[in-house]
Amino acid sequence: MYRQASWNEPLLIEKSEAGKVGHLPVRASDQERKVVGNISSVIPDILRRHGAPPLPELSEPEVVRHFTRLSQENFSPDLGIYPLGSCTMKYNPKSSELAVQTHKLEKIHPEQDESTVQGILALMHDLERMLAEITGMSRITLQPAAGAHGEYLGCLIIRAYHRSRGELDQRTEMIVPDSAHGTNPASAAMAGFKVVVVPSNSDGIVDLGELQKVVGVHTAGLMITNPNTLGIFEKQIVEIAEIVHRAGGLLYYDGANFNPLLGKVRPGDMGFDILHLNLHKTFATPHGGGGPGAGPVGVTKSLERFLPVPLIEFDGKTYHYNYNVPESVGKIRAFLGNIGILVRAYAYILNLGADGLKMVAETAVLNTNYVLSKVLASGLYQLPFTRERKHEFVLSAKGLSTLTGVRAMDLAKRMLDLGVHAPTTYFPQIVDEALMVEVPETESLQDLDQLADALIAVFKEAKTDPEAVKSAPHSTSVSRIDDVKASHPRTLTLHWNRPSSIKETENPRKPMTLVNY
């Protein structure tokens, strides 16, 4: 039986005692002090902090124990299966971690002379070419820090493209399917586009008739993930590309679900113009508890001219930066990208190669289908739409919920007690009481059985003992958390010393309305 550590670990501030210190930085020598004189006379008085900065005071062992205990209160893919749908929580190879632990990477500065960073530039150039081959795109920028960051860059490139054709004022609409990741509409809206949602048909894929109705002279592009968030391959992708292109729009590939297609199908060959990849998903770099990730963006030949600067070029002898890209959108972040993540992904690709990457895709699909079949054989959950799934599937607990009041979230919480992470819940929004399960290729048969058994067991328990499920989890470091209290204006607490309660709006449940740009 799984039991998570529960330390009741106090806050750092509660362990603080005056006079303790956990790290002493170097001090300037007497000689330096003599030359400089009194520095407090140098600092403008009005900018000087009076008194010490308000931070806790702890020794090094206390700090290390604090965070080590906290780490034990955190489930991770190194502990067990983590089937969070659309997040591709695969195992992160340890050799990639060691590969980045060198002063030759950690202690190089992005403004160094090109001649002193030839190694990392070669690696980045190599990685770009590898990712271009894997995706079928012409060129890749490694700059974006995450998938959504890549999406935003993609939207900027779509703008630049339409502007170059004198059509930006007219091309104001970005189409997204109703099954899209939340980041797609959010990225499009951030880039000033009006979001137009196209519904899925009864097979769980884009309804072509509906798409025909919404495309037109205002269409800037369509953002889509394939396989979609239901895990279903959009088999009409060629027709979709044709419809969007005929209308003058561009087709954007959200690479969050690329894992099952590695070496099998390439977005470039499906007709996509722009894509992003999530290296922290498909290419096994660690998710960092929510980052850093990396979201390289690939484009077709005709869109290369809009990529961020600098491009990294190779003249046959040396690598250099190319800032001479007149139509470039500029920069999407400072410097060149999340380099440590890029190096890990590079190691991963070398580890796998062409055969290995294909094996990744196929095994992820095989594993997912194994779990799905086993769960469906239990006859408990509903699987809306068709049976054919790739790397993930979305179950519905609607029937159970109507019958017993036990909701998808309750099932998810109860799964935690069984030593597996829960699936993604309530997403995509087109499935009621959704449980979105993704099973990466890094899981063993025992892991698959544990996950399938857990899904089945919590459902059965919900029917016989609904209270046990509704009150779950019981084996985690804390029991069910009061989320309503956590976000309620009167009890919101964003700081360890002071409650932060905020003004209550007339109706706290009323959604925040935003200024229309």
């Binding site: 790290h23 010490a52 906290l70 034990q72 070669a122 690696l123 290729e441 989320d483």
Partner: protein
Amino acid sequence: MSLKQGLSVIEGLEVRPLMASDGHPFIPNASGEVRQKILGSLGIDSVEQLYSDIPKGVRLNRPLKLAGFYPEQEVRSRIEQLLQQNKSAAEYTTLLGAGIYNHYIPAAVKTIMARTEFQTSYTPYQAEISQGLLQALFEFESMIRDLTAVDAVNSSLYDGSTALGEAARMAVRVTGKYKILVPRDLHPDKLSVLRNYTEPVGIKIETYGYDDQTGHLNIDDLKLKLSVETAAVLCEVPSFFGILDPNATDVPSLCHEKGALSIIGFDPISLGGLKAPGDYGADIVVAEGQSISSEMNFGGPGLGIIGCRGDDLLRQMPGRLIGMTTTTDGKDRAFSMVLQTREQHIRREKATSNICTNEALLGIGAAAYLALLGPRGLSQLFETIMIRTNYAIRRLEDLPSTLIPRFTGAHYQEFVMTFQDSRKSVEKVNRDFLSAGIHCGKSLVKDFPELGQSALVCVTEMNSAEALDKFAVTAEKILGA
């Protein structure tokens, strides 16, 4: 396929690729009996049957042209060989800063960040099983909030430049105005990112100048440009040129008079000795937090820090916010993500931002860093950097045909040096420094032509007096010649 034939550039590396039938260390069900068992249970002969719905026309009918499927040992040695060509700050003296800084990262910070429970997990959607991450991020937010004296800090954005972009958008949403004023002396990357975060929604960016003598902000120019149409004014302390400008503390009140908000860009370590921006009226604070969490790493990852005052801005905050609450039975303290209705996974196109994955691990690193240094360590580090920066200035100020520092204002961590000898270009001088084993300052020639042949030099606690003396001697040789 050998590495020579593949996409690699290193010659002469003898490698034997693995065979598909070997299986793969990362893929338990890649081959053998277990694979047959899974296929059998699905009633299929080949995994191809699970791909039968994909149109033939788009299928890839050849292997990817990739080097790879190499044993771990070969991969490690290849990457080592590639990176070997870099010249690091451990080999050369580095005087480069401008947004990414060479600081000492305590061993305990690295150890904590390497805990794979933190490193390999993801966003704590299931709070009960992710309390460790949530508490650590809550503590990060609390400490940054105390250092900056604002009301709320989120759990990170991508980097300092995107934090500025998001800050500008927050200010526009709250004020309903569409103009942002930024200093002329802003890192060119930040300016480009800011434009990309604002231009698509019609926000105008305008710059205000700096004083040619002191390097302080040109308060007359700012007053001239600040109007009732201004959503916010950015002011950085220290400035891009490393100046500690006393006028910065007047900027928030100037903004408020016109109904605008003030965004203060800060350097986290400098708050060991400098006043908290919230204490002189900052509405939004932004920073690059790389220096308190990780090594330079060729410029990434960074740690975007953003904080704000007041409910209106809080409701417009992008990204994850962690709050303290209790379990439903009220017995235990607990942590969870709060105000999620601001975020893309709930609000989609109406969200405050599209950000999902951020830089959480660096937030944990920063929490560990600040907890380790504490008040004493952070003040001491500020003092060391202040002394060493000014020590370098003293050692260089008498060099002939140079203006060091270019500006007369007080300096922290960075200063501009200007070469007045027409035979000395930054490009040539930097090349000479490089031959002497010194990564000298960032050239300002392209982005700040008004400063002539100038470079931005950075000094941190990593630059000892001996190294700075050597720098001064080398500079004398190069510039005196």
